[in-house]
Symmetry: C2
Subunit: 150 residues, 2 copies
DNA sequence: ATCGTTGCAAAATTTTTGCAATTAG
DNA sequence: CTAATTGCAAAAATTTTGCAACGAT
């Protein structure tokens, strides 16, 4: 845990962006929950819960854009579905995305630096590609497919 | 170049899927053009051009799903915008995606096995994260941001 | 003949944009 | 006061689904 809400707010302020109640809340939620594979929609819900208000989706997306432009945040597509958000300094883990069931497995960064095949094998993951995240099959889906083949 | 259209068609047939004119054409286009960052829409256009016909988007998406289920194809989101398609055996390159301008830089796989930082630096890329593809700034955008900071 | 596949049209999902009203600085 | 930001509503963009007709095996 490194970047906190104040850091993010400060970065926005330094860039001449204005600090509104919404942006404050967005930064707080992100600082607290970003490791949780938050989607824009999740973020919207949490912000509105926190503010008991009606922050608009457009505000969420525009603030996400601003934070991305500042290099504080990234959005990432894990297989299908909406993008999930990550603080840029959260390099604690990577994802293995199963192309069959969509499950994602977090693996820590240290392991990533080792051979990719080793890392995949370690998680029972059959890597069919290392294109953009590790796409492949998780243990269960690999087993199912194997059984279909005989 | 390894997987060709016949390979893909054969794989579909082996799985009990039927070979229709559309699927045949889809496999041909993918075998020819997949290295070209083809989107579902690009694929649709090329298939319809080839068939002088009106293949529906739903057919494209359903066939993409089938090919993914067979492990022959993957879709990948490069930053914003629609997913691009890659044959699973095309491990010839990876992507560096600039989070500022969206530009993607292809880098060959060999380099990827080396230290990630080294690989990024080699392309004038400042990696702010290696979450799901290498997200960061391309040379130009990094320069622009640097100039803003002084 | 059977049942997977298609096209079409409609819907669902996710994200973007225009604009008048609001609000931070 | 000024210009950035917001909410709202509408639109754009991408992908999914229902269904009757069609076509591969």
């Amino acid at each position: 845990m490194h970047v906190n809400a104040s850091d993010m707010v400060e970065a926005l302020r330094r860039s001449g962006l204005r600090i509104t109640v919404s942006r404050q809340a967005i930064c707080e939620v992100l600082a607290t929950d970003h490791h949780n594979h938050l989607t824009a929609n999740d973020l919207l819900a949490k912000v509105n819960q926190k503010l008991r208000g009606k922050v608009a989706p457009s505000t969420i997306y525009r603030t996400i854009d601003a934070l991305e432009a500042e290099g504080l945040l990234e959005h990432v597509h894990l297989g299908h579905g909406p993008a999930v958000l990550h603080l840029s300094d959260d390099s604690s883990h990577h994802h293995l995305v199963c192309e069959s069931c969509g499950r994602t497995i977090d693996v820590d960064t240290g392991a990533f630096d080792a051979a990719i095949g080793l890392l995949a094998a370690k998680n029972g993951f059959v890597a069919s590609s290392v294109h953009y995240a590790l796409i492949g099959q998780c243990e269960e889906c690999a087993a199912i497919i194997a059984s279909h083949l005989q």
